[in-house]
Symmetry: C2
Subunit: 340 residues, 2 copies
């Protein structure tokens, strides 16, 4: 999607440089930096340190990194590089999926160029899934539902291009439909304020931030026509694990008759989890709540502590029951909860 | 209440210094500073700049400031000082109430000392109301309800001493009942993270911060026994205007059968507003959402911008219907919604 009027992807292959490139997401929205690398170790570190983040983007980045590793050190590909990449992040299902795809190709002794081609295909497939989900989502949103609330970043930075939750919004916008997006800032890591708002603005989509606690009130005031979010994992019964705060949104959505849509590729569905109760919820470090980074008046990046000597609970996700959701949209189809 | 093991009030009169003192709340929790002043203009500025905040604390501070003004310049008391104080903050009902009380006393040509006495009485009355509300609240909380969630700061900093929502918690704690308090950080101004958590820790009460979006999930997980909040204004039908995010809490509380209590002195009731729909909701500046202050690793106070070039919606309050509330507790009695 657009950055300063030029089309970018969160991660990709530069044929001229014969290198992988990615957007350094930790500096956004303050600085936009593209990083180029031919070094698979640098790519692994970019995933580890969250320079790239978002499950589909992580998967594609690993595919490119492994293509570089195959070109550089085919002899150590299986013994060293595959485990190196599988270790970078513990929970992103797409990471393991990408590693499996590259491992199978290596077993067939593909050429170095063919491995790069395969990684490009892997990324392209993600983008096609997003476009397809966006088309479906846009149809739902096209009927008088223009004021859309989203939470966290399920945008193109997280999903190579187009995004999952945002794809429908971008489709609407490009069709001249003028969607207006209310963006939850999404504490504690502020992915809404930093990534989603930046994405939407670069693309020219009207948007407005709000504190997470203001979302229910916006619905009560009739200011929201639809909610669109992504998902981190979906259980077999349709329960959705997503960024903390999503469950609270679902309660207000139900109260005020606001339809809530979950947009996620089929790789997000976990057939091994019967219900949301079976999905493990990661407790992250209290420092994510207690410290905040930003830029000061001189433009310097700084970290500040916003509370003193107090413990903090920091569950990364919560679980929304399928029954609170109007529809789950994947590239393979639409799932609606049974009418009760 | 306790600060570093010594009893303080948010604002009060120092007989030895013949001066009003207040706690500089903008520096908390990083620095604890008491300010002493005999200058009514400095007192007015402390209210204006939110060095002191919280409706009951503002009222008491104005009473002390006007006592200083009466001593210094009785001839300009009515023409200059009363309007000067009434202009400091637009919405705190208690401010106008305190100004009215001091105006009536001035009309009776009280001595300078008697005016100081009157201001002390005014503050003492607030504290008595808080203690009384706390006793009532503690009875509700005493039956197996130890894990208490609160939002924003309805503590002693806001209400001279004891606090409104916190008074019951302090009573329980002093009775050896070991309450455990989950504190919503309360974006955008973080009064929970900065003021409530600090108060509770100074008093030795067990507490834990959480992002506002985590509250509903904590209730879904069965981690919360009761919610206790303050109020900014209560309509005739029992609808409660309180800090943004309170309404979302009320939806989750109802969903999970968690009793929600509102604790507020009778001066918070506005007989001129029939329902919550009639209460005006202040939209505050977007910068409160977009900028954040804290201390860096070296202990320097700094302001950082957490988002770039995006508008923000910043409603200061929302309205919770009386029917979502288990009971409103004031010093004059307890109000429960009619059973539907």
């Amino acid at each position: 999607m657009q950055v300063n009027g030029k089309a970018y992807r969160a991660v990709g292959w530069d044929a001229g440089e014969q290198a992988v490139f990615w957007i350094e997401q930790r500096l956004l929205p303050y600085r936009f930096e593209l990083v180029y690398s031919r070094d698979p170790e640098a790519v692994a570190r970019a995933i580890e340190t969250m320079a790239v983040r978002g499950a589909p983007t992580i998967g594609a980045t690993a595919a490119f990194g492994l293509a570089l590793a195959w070109r550089l050190e085919p002899a150590r590909f299986v013994s060293f590089w595959l485990p190196r990449f599988r270790r970078t992040r513990p929970t992103a299902v797409n990471l393991f999926h990408a590693c499996d795809v590259m491992e199978q190709a290596a077993e067939q002794q593909l050429s170095a160029d063919a491995m790069v081609e395969l990684a490009c295909d892997y990324a392209a497939r993600e983008v096609r899934a997003n476009r397809r989900m966006g088309e479906i989502m846009a149809e739902y949103l096209a009927v008088g539902q223009r004021r859309i609330l989203t939470h966290c970043n399920a945008g193109w930075l997280a999903a190579v291009d187009w995004g999952t939750a945002t794809a429908g919004i971008y489709h609407l916008h490009r069709a001249g439909e003028r969607p207006s997006v209310r963006v939850d800032e999404t504490r504690p890591r502020l992915q809404g304020a930093r990534l989603t708002a930046w994405e939407l603005q670069q693309e020219g989509v009207d948007c407005c931030l709000q504190p997470d606690g203001a979302a229910a009130w916006a619905m009560a005031r009739g200011e929201i026509d639809a909610i669109v979010v992504g998902a981190d994992r979906i259980a077999r019964n349709g329960d959705v694990a997503n960024k903390i705060g999503t469950y609270a949104l679902s309660l207000a959505a139900r109260e005020h008759g606001v339809p809530m849509y979950v947009v996620a590729p089929s790789s997000t569905f976990d057939v091994h989890r019967a219900t949301g109760h079976d999905i493990p919820i990661e407790q992250r470090h209290a420092d994510e709540v207690l410290w905040m980074d930003g830029v000061d008046a001189e433009g310097e990046l700084r970290q500040v502590r916003i509370a003193a000597g107090v413990p903090a609970s920091n569950p990364a996700f919560d679980v929304t029951p399928f029954s609170h959701i109007r529809a789950i949209i994947s590239e393979r189809g639409v799932y609606e909860p049974p009418v009760e």
